[in-house]
Assembly symmetry: C2
Homo-oligomer: 323 residues x 2
Protein backbone atom coordinates (compact mmCIF):
# COMPACT_ATOMS: atom_id res chain seq x y z
CA UNK A 1 0.00 0.00 0.00
CA UNK A 2 1.42 3.38 -1.01
CA UNK A 3 1.27 6.77 0.65
CA UNK A 4 -1.94 7.80 -1.11
CA UNK A 5 -3.81 4.60 -0.25
CA UNK A 6 -2.72 4.88 3.37
CA UNK A 7 -3.83 8.52 3.44
CA UNK A 8 -7.24 7.49 2.13
CA UNK A 9 -7.46 4.78 4.79
CA UNK A 10 -6.49 7.28 7.50
CA UNK A 11 -9.00 9.84 6.23
CA UNK A 12 -11.88 7.38 6.63
CA UNK A 13 -11.26 7.26 10.35
CA UNK A 14 -11.55 10.97 11.03
CA UNK A 15 -14.53 12.54 12.77
CA UNK A 16 -16.91 14.50 10.50
CA UNK A 17 -15.67 18.03 9.72
CA UNK A 18 -17.02 20.99 11.68
CA UNK A 19 -19.29 23.70 10.26
CA UNK A 20 -16.49 26.10 9.29
CA UNK A 21 -14.75 23.57 7.09
CA UNK A 22 -15.76 23.61 3.41
CA UNK A 23 -13.04 21.31 2.05
CA UNK A 24 -11.16 18.97 4.36
CA UNK A 25 -8.23 16.62 3.92
CA UNK A 26 -7.46 15.43 0.38
CA UNK A 27 -7.06 18.60 -1.72
CA UNK A 28 -4.03 20.90 -1.96
CA UNK A 29 -5.28 22.75 1.12
CA UNK A 30 -8.26 22.70 3.45
CA UNK A 31 -10.83 25.48 3.01
CA UNK A 32 -12.53 27.11 5.99
CA UNK A 33 -14.75 30.14 6.43
CA UNK A 34 -13.84 31.64 9.79
CA UNK A 35 -15.72 34.32 11.68
CA UNK A 36 -14.17 36.52 14.33
CA UNK A 37 -10.60 35.78 15.31
CA UNK A 38 -8.36 32.73 14.97
CA UNK A 39 -5.74 31.42 17.39
CA UNK A 40 -3.15 29.15 15.76
CA UNK A 41 -0.45 27.10 17.44
CA UNK A 42 2.12 24.48 16.47
CA UNK A 43 3.52 21.70 18.66
CA UNK A 44 5.70 18.77 17.65
CA UNK A 45 6.49 15.61 19.58
CA UNK A 46 9.43 13.41 18.63
CA UNK A 47 10.21 9.85 19.65
CA UNK A 48 13.12 9.66 22.08
CA UNK A 49 12.63 13.32 23.03
CA UNK A 50 8.99 13.55 24.15
CA UNK A 51 7.93 9.91 24.36
CA UNK A 52 9.15 6.34 24.05
CA UNK A 53 7.28 3.63 22.26
CA UNK A 54 8.22 1.17 25.04
CA UNK A 55 6.30 3.29 27.55
CA UNK A 56 3.38 4.46 25.50
CA UNK A 57 0.86 2.88 23.15
CA UNK A 58 0.57 4.34 19.65
CA UNK A 59 -2.96 5.41 20.52
CA UNK A 60 -1.61 7.33 23.50
CA UNK A 61 1.07 8.98 21.34
CA UNK A 62 -1.57 10.17 18.86
CA UNK A 63 -3.70 11.47 21.73
CA UNK A 64 -0.77 13.22 23.32
CA UNK A 65 0.34 14.99 20.12
CA UNK A 66 -3.07 16.59 19.69
CA UNK A 67 -3.55 17.20 23.43
CA UNK A 68 -0.39 19.25 23.88
CA UNK A 69 -1.24 21.35 20.81
CA UNK A 70 -4.84 21.92 21.95
CA UNK A 71 -3.53 22.90 25.38
CA UNK A 72 -2.16 26.09 23.79
CA UNK A 73 -5.64 26.91 22.49
CA UNK A 74 -7.01 26.26 25.99
CA UNK A 75 -4.53 28.81 27.32
CA UNK A 76 -5.96 31.40 24.89
CA UNK A 77 -9.56 30.63 25.83
CA UNK A 78 -10.21 29.62 22.21
CA UNK A 79 -12.76 27.14 20.92
CA UNK A 80 -10.94 24.38 19.01
CA UNK A 81 -11.60 24.31 15.27
CA UNK A 82 -9.21 22.44 13.00
CA UNK A 83 -6.08 20.33 13.46
CA UNK A 84 -3.43 19.54 10.84
CA UNK A 85 -0.98 16.67 11.37
CA UNK A 86 2.47 16.24 9.84
CA UNK A 87 3.37 12.64 10.55
CA UNK A 88 6.95 11.35 10.18
CA UNK A 89 6.88 7.56 9.98
CA UNK A 90 9.97 5.45 10.80
CA UNK A 91 10.72 2.23 8.93
CA UNK A 92 9.54 0.02 11.81
CA UNK A 93 6.06 1.52 12.05
CA UNK A 94 3.63 -0.28 9.74
CA UNK A 95 0.31 0.88 8.37
CA UNK A 96 -1.72 -0.60 11.18
CA UNK A 97 0.55 1.31 13.54
CA UNK A 98 -0.16 4.56 11.69
CA UNK A 99 -3.86 3.84 11.98
CA UNK A 100 -3.67 3.11 15.71
CA UNK A 101 -1.81 6.39 16.16
CA UNK A 102 -4.40 8.31 14.19
CA UNK A 103 -7.22 6.64 16.10
CA UNK A 104 -5.87 8.08 19.35
CA UNK A 105 -5.67 11.48 17.73
CA UNK A 106 -9.11 11.19 16.12
CA UNK A 107 -10.77 10.14 19.40
CA UNK A 108 -9.50 13.25 21.17
CA UNK A 109 -10.47 15.33 18.12
CA UNK A 110 -14.02 13.98 18.30
CA UNK A 111 -14.20 14.48 22.07
CA UNK A 112 -13.11 18.12 21.79
CA UNK A 113 -15.01 19.07 18.62
CA UNK A 114 -11.82 19.40 16.57
CA UNK A 115 -11.84 18.65 12.83
CA UNK A 116 -8.71 16.94 11.51
CA UNK A 117 -8.61 18.95 8.31
CA UNK A 118 -5.36 17.94 6.67
CA UNK A 119 -1.87 16.67 7.05
CA UNK A 120 1.27 15.34 5.54
CA UNK A 121 2.82 11.89 5.66
CA UNK A 122 6.52 11.33 5.18
CA UNK A 123 9.25 8.89 6.06
CA UNK A 124 11.42 9.94 9.02
CA UNK A 125 14.17 8.40 11.15
CA UNK A 126 12.03 8.67 14.30
CA UNK A 127 8.30 8.83 14.87
CA UNK A 128 7.36 12.52 14.71
CA UNK A 129 4.02 14.28 14.99
CA UNK A 130 3.90 18.01 14.31
CA UNK A 131 0.41 19.33 14.99
CA UNK A 132 -1.00 22.68 13.99
CA UNK A 133 -4.27 23.63 15.65
CA UNK A 134 -6.60 26.50 14.82
CA UNK A 135 -9.05 27.81 17.39
CA UNK A 136 -11.70 30.49 17.22
CA UNK A 137 -13.14 33.31 19.28
CA UNK A 138 -15.78 35.94 18.50
CA UNK A 139 -13.15 38.71 18.47
CA UNK A 140 -9.41 39.06 19.12
CA UNK A 141 -10.21 40.74 22.46
CA UNK A 142 -11.96 37.53 23.60
CA UNK A 143 -8.64 35.68 23.49
CA UNK A 144 -6.35 35.71 26.53
CA UNK A 145 -2.67 36.32 25.86
CA UNK A 146 0.23 36.08 28.30
CA UNK A 147 0.63 39.83 28.47
CA UNK A 148 -2.31 41.20 30.46
CA UNK A 149 -1.56 40.38 34.13
CA UNK A 150 -1.56 43.41 36.45
CA UNK A 151 -0.41 44.02 40.03
CA UNK A 152 -3.23 43.06 42.36
CA UNK A 153 -4.49 40.21 40.21
CA UNK A 154 -4.93 36.84 41.84
CA UNK A 155 -2.88 33.95 40.49
CA UNK A 156 -4.65 30.60 40.22
CA UNK A 157 -4.19 27.15 38.67
CA UNK A 158 -6.70 24.62 37.42
CA UNK A 159 -6.68 21.02 38.62
CA UNK A 160 -3.63 19.45 40.25
CA UNK A 161 0.14 19.67 39.85
CA UNK A 162 2.98 17.18 39.89
CA UNK A 163 0.96 14.23 38.64
CA UNK A 164 2.61 14.04 35.23
CA UNK A 165 6.12 14.18 36.72
CA UNK A 166 5.20 11.46 39.22
CA UNK A 167 3.77 9.40 36.38
CA UNK A 168 7.07 9.73 34.51
CA UNK A 169 8.98 8.50 37.57
CA UNK A 170 6.65 5.50 37.77
CA UNK A 171 7.24 4.77 34.08
CA UNK A 172 10.96 4.96 34.75
CA UNK A 173 10.47 2.18 37.30
CA UNK A 174 10.45 4.09 40.54
CA UNK A 175 8.63 1.66 42.79
CA UNK A 176 5.93 3.11 45.01
CA UNK A 177 3.66 0.20 45.95
CA UNK A 178 1.16 2.21 47.97
CA UNK A 179 0.20 4.47 45.08
CA UNK A 180 -2.42 3.71 42.50
CA UNK A 181 -0.22 4.14 39.43
CA UNK A 182 -2.84 4.36 36.73
CA UNK A 183 -3.98 7.93 37.35
CA UNK A 184 -0.46 9.37 37.56
CA UNK A 185 0.80 7.47 34.52
CA UNK A 186 -2.24 8.67 32.58
CA UNK A 187 -1.38 12.26 33.54
CA UNK A 188 1.96 11.73 31.81
CA UNK A 189 0.87 9.70 28.79
CA UNK A 190 -2.62 11.03 28.12
CA UNK A 191 -2.77 14.68 29.12
CA UNK A 192 -6.15 16.34 28.70
CA UNK A 193 -6.27 19.88 27.35
CA UNK A 194 -8.23 22.22 29.65
CA UNK A 195 -10.32 23.64 26.79
CA UNK A 196 -13.63 24.07 28.61
CA UNK A 197 -11.78 25.52 31.58
CA UNK A 198 -9.82 27.95 29.40
CA UNK A 199 -12.98 29.31 27.82
CA UNK A 200 -14.68 29.57 31.22
CA UNK A 201 -11.71 31.48 32.61
CA UNK A 202 -11.70 33.79 29.59
CA UNK A 203 -15.41 34.43 30.14
CA UNK A 204 -14.76 35.08 33.84
CA UNK A 205 -12.33 37.88 33.06
CA UNK A 206 -8.92 36.18 32.87
CA UNK A 207 -6.26 38.84 32.21
CA UNK A 208 -3.37 36.52 31.26
CA UNK A 209 -3.08 32.77 30.90
CA UNK A 210 -0.51 30.08 30.02
CA UNK A 211 -0.61 26.31 29.99
CA UNK A 212 1.84 24.45 32.24
CA UNK A 213 3.97 22.44 29.85
CA UNK A 214 7.45 23.17 31.21
CA UNK A 215 6.56 23.36 34.90
CA UNK A 216 4.95 26.01 37.09
CA UNK A 217 8.22 27.82 37.86
CA UNK A 218 9.30 28.31 34.27
CA UNK A 219 5.86 28.98 32.85
CA UNK A 220 5.05 31.50 35.62
CA UNK A 221 8.31 33.24 34.72
CA UNK A 222 7.22 33.51 31.10
CA UNK A 223 3.81 34.83 32.12
CA UNK A 224 5.42 37.40 34.44
CA UNK A 225 7.89 38.51 31.75
CA UNK A 226 5.22 38.85 29.06
CA UNK A 227 3.05 40.94 31.42
CA UNK A 228 5.93 42.95 32.89
CA UNK A 229 4.99 42.05 36.48
CA UNK A 230 6.22 40.01 39.43
CA UNK A 231 4.51 36.90 40.74
CA UNK A 232 4.42 35.67 44.34
CA UNK A 233 3.48 32.04 44.80
CA UNK A 234 2.70 30.34 48.11
CA UNK A 235 4.10 26.81 47.82
CA UNK A 236 1.81 25.58 50.61
CA UNK A 237 -1.20 26.52 48.48
CA UNK A 238 -0.16 24.42 45.48
CA UNK A 239 -2.71 21.69 44.69
CA UNK A 240 -0.34 18.74 44.62
CA UNK A 241 -1.95 15.68 43.06
CA UNK A 242 -2.74 12.63 45.21
CA UNK A 243 0.10 10.11 45.21
CA UNK A 244 2.79 12.63 44.27
CA UNK A 245 4.14 12.74 47.84
CA UNK A 246 4.55 8.95 47.94
CA UNK A 247 6.22 8.71 44.53
CA UNK A 248 8.52 11.62 45.32
CA UNK A 249 9.54 9.95 48.59
CA UNK A 250 10.24 6.66 46.81
CA UNK A 251 12.39 8.53 44.28
CA UNK A 252 14.21 10.57 46.90
CA UNK A 253 12.69 13.83 45.69
CA UNK A 254 10.54 16.57 47.21
CA UNK A 255 6.86 16.53 46.24
CA UNK A 256 7.11 20.28 45.64
CA UNK A 257 9.93 19.66 43.19
CA UNK A 258 7.54 17.64 41.04
CA UNK A 259 4.78 20.23 41.37
CA UNK A 260 7.00 23.23 40.59
CA UNK A 261 9.49 21.92 38.02
CA UNK A 262 7.97 18.68 36.78
CA UNK A 263 6.13 19.99 33.78
CA UNK A 264 3.64 18.38 31.43
CA UNK A 265 0.66 18.75 33.74
CA UNK A 266 -1.05 20.91 31.07
CA UNK A 267 -3.03 22.73 33.71
CA UNK A 268 -3.72 26.45 33.20
CA UNK A 269 -2.05 29.22 35.17
CA UNK A 270 -4.24 32.31 35.16
CA UNK A 271 -4.10 35.87 36.45
CA UNK A 272 -7.47 37.45 37.13
CA UNK A 273 -8.98 40.13 39.35
CA UNK A 274 -9.45 38.65 42.86
CA UNK A 275 -13.14 39.59 42.88
CA UNK A 276 -13.68 37.28 39.86
CA UNK A 277 -12.13 34.22 41.53
CA UNK A 278 -15.34 32.89 43.06
CA UNK A 279 -17.26 33.20 39.80
CA UNK A 280 -14.43 31.58 37.82
CA UNK A 281 -14.19 28.77 40.33
CA UNK A 282 -17.94 28.14 40.16
CA UNK A 283 -17.87 28.09 36.34
CA UNK A 284 -15.10 25.48 36.35
CA UNK A 285 -16.71 23.34 39.02
CA UNK A 286 -20.01 23.35 37.19
CA UNK A 287 -18.47 22.53 33.82
CA UNK A 288 -16.12 19.65 34.54
CA UNK A 289 -15.66 19.51 38.28
CA UNK A 290 -12.11 20.82 37.91
CA UNK A 291 -10.96 22.92 40.86
CA UNK A 292 -9.49 26.41 40.57
CA UNK A 293 -6.96 27.10 43.34
CA UNK A 294 -5.51 30.48 44.21
CA UNK A 295 -1.76 29.98 44.59
CA UNK A 296 -0.55 33.56 44.87
CA UNK A 297 -0.83 37.03 43.47
CA UNK A 298 0.61 39.43 40.93
CA UNK A 299 2.76 42.33 42.14
CA UNK A 300 4.64 45.22 40.62
CA UNK A 301 8.21 44.43 39.67
CA UNK A 302 9.62 41.39 37.95
CA UNK A 303 10.45 37.76 38.61
CA UNK A 304 8.70 34.86 40.28
CA UNK A 305 9.08 34.09 43.97
CA UNK A 306 7.90 30.82 45.45
CA UNK A 307 7.63 30.89 49.27
CA UNK A 308 8.11 27.50 50.91
CA UNK A 309 6.13 26.47 54.02
CA UNK A 310 9.24 27.00 56.18
CA UNK A 311 9.55 30.61 54.99
CA UNK A 312 12.47 30.08 52.61
CA UNK A 313 12.15 31.61 49.16
CA UNK A 314 12.59 29.40 46.16
CA UNK A 315 13.60 30.77 42.78
CA UNK A 316 11.55 29.25 39.94
CA UNK A 317 14.78 27.74 38.66
CA UNK A 318 15.56 26.38 42.14
CA UNK A 319 14.68 22.87 41.09
CA UNK A 320 16.16 21.30 38.02
CA UNK A 321 13.89 20.15 35.25
CA UNK A 322 13.13 16.48 35.52
CA UNK A 323 13.91 13.91 32.85
CA UNK B 1 21.85 29.56 25.06
CA UNK B 2 18.58 27.77 25.79
CA UNK B 3 15.50 27.15 23.68
CA UNK B 4 13.79 30.35 24.75
CA UNK B 5 16.80 32.58 24.03
CA UNK B 6 17.26 30.97 20.63
CA UNK B 7 13.56 31.46 19.88
CA UNK B 8 13.88 35.14 20.76
CA UNK B 9 16.92 35.42 18.50
CA UNK B 10 15.07 33.70 15.66
CA UNK B 11 12.01 35.93 16.12
CA UNK B 12 14.09 39.07 15.63
CA UNK B 13 14.90 37.99 12.10
CA UNK B 14 11.34 37.56 10.86
CA UNK B 15 9.70 40.00 8.46
CA UNK B 16 7.08 42.32 10.04
CA UNK B 17 3.68 40.66 10.48
CA UNK B 18 0.93 41.24 7.93
CA UNK B 19 -2.26 43.22 8.60
CA UNK B 20 -4.40 40.23 9.63
CA UNK B 21 -2.04 39.25 12.44
CA UNK B 22 -2.82 40.75 15.87
CA UNK B 23 -0.41 38.63 17.95
CA UNK B 24 2.51 36.84 16.32
CA UNK B 25 5.13 34.43 17.54
CA UNK B 26 5.82 34.35 21.30
CA UNK B 27 2.46 33.74 22.98
CA UNK B 28 0.59 30.43 23.39
CA UNK B 29 -0.89 30.94 19.92
CA UNK B 30 -0.89 33.54 17.15
CA UNK B 31 -4.03 35.66 16.80
CA UNK B 32 -5.36 36.64 13.37
CA UNK B 33 -8.55 38.28 12.17
CA UNK B 34 -9.34 36.69 8.82
CA UNK B 35 -11.92 37.84 6.30
CA UNK B 36 -13.43 35.62 3.64
CA UNK B 37 -12.06 32.10 3.37
CA UNK B 38 -8.85 30.44 4.50
CA UNK B 39 -6.82 27.75 2.75
CA UNK B 40 -4.51 25.80 5.07
CA UNK B 41 -1.87 23.24 4.14
CA UNK B 42 0.89 21.28 5.85
CA UNK B 43 4.14 20.05 4.33
CA UNK B 44 7.13 18.52 6.07
CA UNK B 45 10.65 17.99 4.76
CA UNK B 46 13.04 15.60 6.47
CA UNK B 47 16.79 15.26 6.09
CA UNK B 48 17.76 12.10 4.22
CA UNK B 49 14.27 11.87 2.70
CA UNK B 50 13.74 15.23 0.97
CA UNK B 51 17.18 16.81 1.11
CA UNK B 52 20.79 16.23 2.10
CA UNK B 53 22.88 18.76 3.93
CA UNK B 54 25.87 17.84 1.73
CA UNK B 55 23.95 19.04 -1.33
CA UNK B 56 22.08 22.00 0.04
CA UNK B 57 22.90 25.03 2.14
CA UNK B 58 20.87 25.57 5.30
CA UNK B 59 19.49 28.73 3.74
CA UNK B 60 18.27 26.69 0.77
CA UNK B 61 16.68 24.10 3.09
CA UNK B 62 14.77 26.83 4.91
CA UNK B 63 13.66 28.32 1.60
CA UNK B 64 12.60 24.96 0.27
CA UNK B 65 10.52 24.03 3.32
CA UNK B 66 8.41 27.17 2.97
CA UNK B 67 8.36 27.02 -0.84
CA UNK B 68 6.85 23.54 -1.06
CA UNK B 69 4.19 24.47 1.51
CA UNK B 70 3.32 27.74 -0.25
CA UNK B 71 3.10 25.83 -3.53
CA UNK B 72 -0.09 24.21 -2.20
CA UNK B 73 -1.57 27.66 -1.61
CA UNK B 74 -0.55 28.62 -5.15
CA UNK B 75 -2.50 25.60 -6.41
CA UNK B 76 -5.62 26.92 -4.63
CA UNK B 77 -5.21 30.43 -6.01
CA UNK B 78 -4.89 31.74 -2.45
CA UNK B 79 -3.03 34.80 -1.25
CA UNK B 80 -0.38 33.73 1.29
CA UNK B 81 -1.01 34.90 4.86
CA UNK B 82 0.79 33.16 7.70
CA UNK B 83 3.34 30.38 8.06
CA UNK B 84 4.06 28.28 11.16
CA UNK B 85 7.28 26.26 11.43
CA UNK B 86 7.91 23.18 13.54
CA UNK B 87 11.67 22.77 13.50
CA UNK B 88 13.35 19.53 14.61
CA UNK B 89 17.02 20.22 15.33
CA UNK B 90 19.63 17.44 15.32
CA UNK B 91 22.58 17.47 17.72
CA UNK B 92 25.04 18.58 15.01
CA UNK B 93 23.13 21.72 14.03
CA UNK B 94 24.20 24.67 16.14
CA UNK B 95 22.39 27.93 16.77
CA UNK B 96 24.02 29.78 13.91
CA UNK B 97 22.85 26.92 11.70
CA UNK B 98 19.28 27.36 12.95
CA UNK B 99 19.51 31.05 12.16
CA UNK B 100 20.86 30.46 8.64
CA UNK B 101 17.98 28.04 8.05
CA UNK B 102 15.43 30.55 9.29
CA UNK B 103 17.00 33.31 7.20
CA UNK B 104 16.29 31.31 4.02
CA UNK B 105 12.74 30.79 5.18
CA UNK B 106 12.29 34.43 6.23
CA UNK B 107 13.61 35.74 2.91
CA UNK B 108 11.04 33.78 0.95
CA UNK B 109 8.39 34.82 3.47
CA UNK B 110 9.25 38.48 2.92
CA UNK B 111 9.34 38.05 -0.86
CA UNK B 112 5.90 36.44 -0.92
CA UNK B 113 4.20 38.59 1.73
CA UNK B 114 3.96 35.71 4.21
CA UNK B 115 4.11 36.37 7.97
CA UNK B 116 5.99 33.76 10.00
CA UNK B 117 3.51 33.80 12.87
CA UNK B 118 4.68 31.01 15.13
CA UNK B 119 6.46 27.75 15.51
CA UNK B 120 7.94 25.10 17.67
CA UNK B 121 11.54 24.12 18.29
CA UNK B 122 12.51 20.64 19.43
CA UNK B 123 15.40 18.24 19.35
CA UNK B 124 15.15 15.54 16.67
CA UNK B 125 17.38 12.80 15.24
CA UNK B 126 17.32 14.41 11.78
CA UNK B 127 16.74 17.97 10.61
CA UNK B 128 12.99 18.31 10.09
CA UNK B 129 10.87 21.27 9.04
CA UNK B 130 7.11 20.87 9.17
CA UNK B 131 5.45 23.98 7.76
CA UNK B 132 1.82 24.97 8.04
CA UNK B 133 0.71 27.79 5.76
CA UNK B 134 -2.54 29.73 5.79
CA UNK B 135 -3.74 31.54 2.69
CA UNK B 136 -6.74 33.76 2.07
CA UNK B 137 -9.37 34.43 -0.57
CA UNK B 138 -12.42 36.70 -0.59
CA UNK B 139 -14.78 33.69 -0.52
CA UNK B 140 -14.50 29.89 -0.60
CA UNK B 141 -15.73 29.94 -4.22
CA UNK B 142 -12.64 32.00 -5.19
CA UNK B 143 -10.40 29.05 -4.27
CA UNK B 144 -9.63 26.40 -6.88
CA UNK B 145 -9.84 22.78 -5.71
CA UNK B 146 -8.81 19.65 -7.59
CA UNK B 147 -12.38 18.63 -8.20
CA UNK B 148 -13.79 21.03 -10.82
CA UNK B 149 -12.29 19.91 -14.17
CA UNK B 150 -14.88 19.11 -16.85
CA UNK B 151 -14.75 17.40 -20.25
CA UNK B 152 -13.83 19.98 -22.86
CA UNK B 153 -11.54 21.94 -20.55
CA UNK B 154 -8.05 22.69 -21.76
CA UNK B 155 -5.15 21.33 -19.70
CA UNK B 156 -2.16 23.64 -19.25
CA UNK B 157 1.02 23.95 -17.19
CA UNK B 158 2.94 26.98 -16.02
CA UNK B 159 6.67 27.35 -16.69
CA UNK B 160 8.86 24.40 -17.57
CA UNK B 161 9.11 20.75 -16.59
CA UNK B 162 11.92 18.35 -15.83
CA UNK B 163 14.32 20.97 -14.53
CA UNK B 164 14.19 19.85 -10.90
CA UNK B 165 14.77 16.21 -11.81
CA UNK B 166 17.71 17.17 -14.03
CA UNK B 167 19.06 19.30 -11.19
CA UNK B 168 18.89 16.29 -8.87
CA UNK B 169 20.85 14.19 -11.38
CA UNK B 170 23.50 16.90 -11.53
CA UNK B 171 23.68 16.95 -7.74
CA UNK B 172 24.11 13.20 -7.80
CA UNK B 173 27.17 13.75 -9.97
CA UNK B 174 25.82 13.02 -13.43
CA UNK B 175 28.30 14.89 -15.56
CA UNK B 176 26.89 17.01 -18.37
CA UNK B 177 29.57 19.56 -19.21
CA UNK B 178 27.62 21.40 -21.90
CA UNK B 179 24.82 22.37 -19.57
CA UNK B 180 24.75 25.42 -17.36
CA UNK B 181 24.15 23.60 -14.10
CA UNK B 182 23.13 26.51 -11.91
CA UNK B 183 19.61 26.97 -13.18
CA UNK B 184 18.70 23.28 -13.02
CA UNK B 185 20.24 22.76 -9.59
CA UNK B 186 18.34 25.82 -8.37
CA UNK B 187 15.10 24.29 -9.65
CA UNK B 188 15.79 21.33 -7.36
CA UNK B 189 17.15 23.15 -4.31
CA UNK B 190 15.26 26.45 -4.41
CA UNK B 191 11.86 25.86 -5.92
CA UNK B 192 9.69 28.96 -6.27
CA UNK B 193 5.99 28.71 -5.48
CA UNK B 194 3.81 29.94 -8.36
CA UNK B 195 1.69 32.14 -6.11
CA UNK B 196 1.10 35.08 -8.49
CA UNK B 197 0.42 32.63 -11.29
CA UNK B 198 -2.04 30.61 -9.18
CA UNK B 199 -4.04 33.71 -8.33
CA UNK B 200 -3.98 34.87 -11.96
CA UNK B 201 -5.22 31.46 -13.10
CA UNK B 202 -7.98 31.48 -10.47
CA UNK B 203 -9.02 34.94 -11.69
CA UNK B 204 -8.96 33.70 -15.29
CA UNK B 205 -11.51 30.99 -14.52
CA UNK B 206 -9.39 27.95 -13.56
CA UNK B 207 -11.74 25.03 -12.83
CA UNK B 208 -9.24 22.70 -11.14
CA UNK B 209 -5.59 23.06 -10.20
CA UNK B 210 -2.77 21.09 -8.56
CA UNK B 211 0.92 21.78 -8.02
CA UNK B 212 3.42 19.39 -9.56
CA UNK B 213 5.29 17.96 -6.60
CA UNK B 214 5.26 14.24 -7.46
CA UNK B 215 5.54 14.57 -11.24
CA UNK B 216 3.09 15.43 -14.00
CA UNK B 217 1.90 11.83 -14.49
CA UNK B 218 0.99 11.20 -10.87
CA UNK B 219 -0.37 14.65 -10.13
CA UNK B 220 -2.49 14.66 -13.31
CA UNK B 221 -3.90 11.32 -12.15
CA UNK B 222 -4.89 12.85 -8.83
CA UNK B 223 -6.49 15.84 -10.56
CA UNK B 224 -8.40 13.51 -12.93
CA UNK B 225 -9.59 11.30 -10.05
CA UNK B 226 -10.71 14.23 -7.91
CA UNK B 227 -12.67 15.70 -10.85
CA UNK B 228 -14.01 12.35 -12.12
CA UNK B 229 -12.68 12.92 -15.62
CA UNK B 230 -10.03 11.63 -18.03
CA UNK B 231 -7.00 13.61 -19.15
CA UNK B 232 -5.24 13.39 -22.50
CA UNK B 233 -1.74 14.82 -22.59
CA UNK B 234 0.36 15.38 -25.73
CA UNK B 235 3.94 14.61 -24.71
CA UNK B 236 5.30 16.66 -27.64
CA UNK B 237 3.62 19.75 -26.19
CA UNK B 238 5.33 19.49 -22.80
CA UNK B 239 7.52 22.52 -22.07
CA UNK B 240 10.71 20.69 -21.19
CA UNK B 241 13.25 22.99 -19.51
CA UNK B 242 16.45 23.92 -21.30
CA UNK B 243 19.31 21.55 -20.48
CA UNK B 244 17.05 18.65 -19.50
CA UNK B 245 17.70 16.82 -22.77
CA UNK B 246 21.47 17.00 -22.28
CA UNK B 247 21.39 15.89 -18.65
CA UNK B 248 18.97 13.07 -19.45
CA UNK B 249 21.26 11.87 -22.25
CA UNK B 250 24.30 11.97 -19.95
CA UNK B 251 22.36 9.92 -17.37
CA UNK B 252 21.02 7.44 -19.93
CA UNK B 253 17.45 8.60 -19.43
CA UNK B 254 14.70 10.03 -21.64
CA UNK B 255 14.10 13.78 -21.27
CA UNK B 256 10.36 13.02 -21.18
CA UNK B 257 10.96 10.71 -18.25
CA UNK B 258 12.27 13.67 -16.27
CA UNK B 259 9.41 15.90 -17.39
CA UNK B 260 6.66 13.36 -16.68
CA UNK B 261 7.86 11.49 -13.61
CA UNK B 262 10.61 13.66 -12.19
CA UNK B 263 8.60 15.68 -9.75
CA UNK B 264 9.46 18.70 -7.64
CA UNK B 265 9.07 21.24 -10.42
CA UNK B 266 6.31 22.93 -8.40
CA UNK B 267 4.67 24.22 -11.55
CA UNK B 268 0.88 24.37 -11.67
CA UNK B 269 -1.29 22.00 -13.71
CA UNK B 270 -4.61 23.67 -14.48
CA UNK B 271 -7.86 22.79 -16.21
CA UNK B 272 -9.75 25.74 -17.64
CA UNK B 273 -12.20 26.49 -20.43
CA UNK B 274 -10.27 26.69 -23.74
CA UNK B 275 -11.68 30.15 -24.46
CA UNK B 276 -9.98 31.47 -21.29
CA UNK B 277 -6.50 30.19 -22.23
CA UNK B 278 -5.40 33.34 -24.07
CA UNK B 279 -6.50 35.61 -21.22
CA UNK B 280 -4.84 33.38 -18.62
CA UNK B 281 -1.65 33.25 -20.65
CA UNK B 282 -1.58 37.03 -20.99
CA UNK B 283 -2.15 37.49 -17.24
CA UNK B 284 0.79 35.21 -16.45
CA UNK B 285 3.09 36.78 -19.02
CA UNK B 286 2.33 40.25 -17.74
CA UNK B 287 2.80 39.32 -14.11
CA UNK B 288 6.05 37.38 -14.04
CA UNK B 289 6.84 36.41 -17.59
CA UNK B 290 6.00 32.80 -16.83
CA UNK B 291 4.58 30.93 -19.83
CA UNK B 292 1.33 28.98 -19.80
CA UNK B 293 1.44 26.02 -22.18
CA UNK B 294 -1.52 23.94 -23.27
CA UNK B 295 -0.47 20.30 -22.97
CA UNK B 296 -3.75 18.51 -23.55
CA UNK B 297 -7.41 18.42 -22.70
CA UNK B 298 -9.97 16.99 -20.32
CA UNK B 299 -12.32 14.28 -21.56
CA UNK B 300 -15.14 12.18 -20.16
CA UNK B 301 -14.05 8.94 -18.54
CA UNK B 302 -11.15 8.29 -16.23
CA UNK B 303 -7.39 7.96 -16.23
CA UNK B 304 -4.53 9.90 -17.73
CA UNK B 305 -3.11 9.13 -21.17
CA UNK B 306 0.16 10.60 -22.34
CA UNK B 307 0.68 10.31 -26.10
CA UNK B 308 4.31 10.16 -27.16
CA UNK B 309 5.56 11.81 -30.38
CA UNK B 310 5.80 8.37 -32.03
CA UNK B 311 2.14 7.68 -31.32
CA UNK B 312 2.66 5.26 -28.45
CA UNK B 313 0.59 5.82 -25.33
CA UNK B 314 2.33 6.17 -22.03
CA UNK B 315 0.58 5.42 -18.77
CA UNK B 316 1.28 8.07 -16.12
CA UNK B 317 2.96 5.37 -14.09
CA UNK B 318 5.03 4.30 -17.09
CA UNK B 319 8.16 5.89 -15.68
CA UNK B 320 9.36 5.19 -12.20
CA UNK B 321 9.76 7.99 -9.72
CA UNK B 322 13.29 9.30 -9.62
CA UNK B 323 15.48 9.42 -6.55
Amino acid sequence: MGEFELLARLRERLPPPGPRLRVGSGDDAAIAVPEGATATSVDAIVEGVHFRREQSSLRQIGHRALAVALSDLAAMGAEPGEAYAALGVPADLDEDGCIELLDGLAELAAATGTSVAGGDLTRAPALTLAMTVVGYAPAPESLVTRGGAQPGDALAVTGELGGAAAGLLLLERVDSPDVENGMLVARQLEPWPRLTEGRALAAAGAKAMIDLSDGLGGDATRLAEASGVAMRIDAAALPVAAGVAEVAAAAGREPLQLAVSGGEDYELLVALPPERLAEASALLGNANGVALTQIGSVAAGSGVEIRLPDGRLLAPTGFDQLG
